[in-house]
């Protein structure tokens, strides 16, 4: 589906937001794909992604089914890329999120060199992605453009909430919860880092960009 395509925000607010994902085509090149997807993820981890995940198995930040009351005073953020690697038992989409286009370019060079035979896509500013491909010696094959939101736009919340909630394209991060996290940061009841990690746990694909979320929360705190 299009879960990374329609992130809200002006172009200048998306310069720290790139998702690179790899996948086989269903029924065509799935054989042996799990090992290739693991290779892709290991290559991505070399370049310092802010989040990684597999669509059907979860991301680095996950909810816990067995918290103790001590979590209210001291809770580990739970970022663990190894969990994503170990849980990979089916050939579905694997994604890595970056906050720096230079890291994307470095990863593209590695992925091209590895020649995995999987489909690899960049979701982000299209011109930046194309330029990045060219620098890595890659000619893009296809492109899908987002034309944004249409229809009854009165049903949408404010821009800070939208910038946060649309980072989960499946809609698992509700507008109301994003608003609550902004309020908790503004009231100094949570740090932007804590609030971003809390929101990331709702994104089952691991494509929530924590670096961008922290920046948005800082801006929202100051009313910018």
């Amino acid at each position: 589906m299009t879960n990374t395509l329609h992130r809200f925000g002006a172009p200048e607010t998306q310069r720290d937001d790139y998702i690179i994902f790899a996948m086989p085509a269903k029924g065509i090149n799935e054989a042996g794909a799990i090992g290739k997807l693991q290779t892709f993820l290991r290559l991505a981890l070399k370049h310092g992604p802010v989040n990684v995940g597999q669509g059907s198995r979860g991301g680095m930040y996950r909810p816990s089914s067995n918290l103790t009351p001590l979590a209210h005073w001291s809770r580990p953020e739970g970022a663990d890329a190894e969990t994503v690697l170990k849980a990979m038992d089916e050939p579905s989409v694997v994604a890595a999120v970056f906050d720096d286009v230079a890291k994307v370019e470095a990863l593209l060079k590695d992925v091209k060199e590895a020649d995995l035979g999987l489909s690899v896509n960049i979701s982000g500013l299209a011109d930046e992605a194309n330029a990045c491909c060219k620098r890595a010696g890659i000619t893009r094959h296809s492109i899908e453009y987002s034309l944004g939101f249409h229809g009854d736009l009165n049903q949408l919340p404010d821009r800070h909430v939208l910038e946060l909630s649309t980072m989960c394209g499946h809609g698992m991060l509700s507008h109301n919860f994003a608003r609550k996290m902004i309020d908790m940061v503004r009231e100094n009841r949570r740090t932007p880092q804590q609030a971003a990690a809390t929101m990331a746990r709702f994104c089952t694909c691991g494509i929530f960009n924590l670096a961008r979320a922290i920046r948005v929360l800082e801006q929202a705190r100051k009313g910018e």
Binding site: M1, T2, L5, H6, P11, Q14, F21, M23, P24, A25, K26, I28, N29, A31, P63, S65, N66, T68, P69, H72, S92, L108, K112, L118, S119, V120, I122, S123, G124, L125, A126, A129, N130, C133, I138, R140, H141, S142, I143, E144, Y145, S146, L147, G148, F149, H150, G151, D152, L156, H170, G171, M172, S174, N176, F177, R179, R189, R201, F202, T204
Partner: protein, 274 residues
């Protein structure tokens, strides 16, 4: 087992943590019983409350007593906001047509029609392998209900019936297409029209020259719907990596800067040697 989520009123302590977590705003604290309650007509069975919240397993009686004392003293407890303290969210059995809500709302449930997780197909993401959208063609992903608004299939049908007379080809493997009873008219199954889902994606393709007409129709119909419509347009690039769709969109006055770029690194497996 297909399940719905209910809130166990023997365990719920009305902490209200689940209220803002619900993407559809379908959970509220009922003042009569002082328990979290789900508006089942608005609930889309996305399982965000059940799966997304962390769980403690505290004694409900103890938690209620502590909360009563704290409330009487006007103390404000500042708990973790994504935790159900008593594990009160409980899966229940789900039946047709309600099952369609979960299929279009919970990304961890694969569609029977596509075999993949999510609400659409692989569309342009694997175009380097499938060649689904060819040169000279444009693919459309028209998503209803996103972001965070939801949609009933009656609104989806308003769009499918408006687009069906145009020179478009509905994607065979798309979940919405699988619910059509007549692809010529775009009509959907009548028993699902009032079902609400998180989002539904209509996928179709057409020749590049028809892109303006399709966009005009989508924009016009979107104004009649009680939801949001997100539009994506894709195409195959030429040997230099250039594309025709960008020129058409510029001419039509669209602002676009975000996209999904397929790098062309995928390939079909080599045929086995005889």
């Amino acid at each position: 087992m297909e399940c719905s989520v209910e809130i166990d009123d023997r365990k719920c302590v009305a902490c209200a943590n689940c209220v803002p977590v619900c993407p559809m705003g379908a959970i509220y604290i009922d003042p009569v019983v002082n328990r979290a309650t789900v508006n089942l007509d608005e609930c889309v069975e996305c399982f965000t409350c059940y799966r997304g919240m962390s769980k403690e397993h505290m004694n409900p009686t103890l938690v209620r007593a502590v909360r009563r004392v704290a409330k009487w003293l006007r103390f404000r407890f500042d708990p973790e906001p994504d935790v159900c303290p008593t594990d009160a969210l409980t899966p229940q059995e789900l039946t047709w047509p309600r099952t369609v809500r979960r299929a279009f709302s919970d990304p961890l449930v694969p569609h029977e029609s596509t075999g993949i997780h999510g609400r659409g197909t692989e569309e342009v993401k694997t175009n380097d392998v499938t060649n689904r959208v060819k040169e000279g063609e444009a693919g459309f992903t028209i998503e209803f209900g996103r972001p965070g608004v939801g949609v009933r299939f009656g609104d989806v049908q308003t769009m499918t019936t408006a687009l069906a007379p145009l020179p478009v080809e509905f994607e065979d493997k798309n979940p919405v297409t699988s619910l059509m009873t007549d692809r010529v008219t775009g009509a959907l199954q009548s028993d699902i029209l009032n079902e609400k889902v998180m989002s539904a994606i209509l996928e179709l393709k057409t020749r590049l020259e028809h892109v303006p007409a399709v966009l005009e129709r989508v924009e016009a119909v979107a104004q009649q719907l009680d939801t949001i419509v997100s539009i994506g347009v894709s195409t195959r690039c030429d040997a230099k990596g250039d594309d025709q769709v960008a020129r058409i969109l510029e001419r039509e006055g669209y602002e676009f800067f975000r996209g999904k770029t397929n790098l062309g690194l995928g390939r079909r497996p080599e045929p086995a040697a005889v």
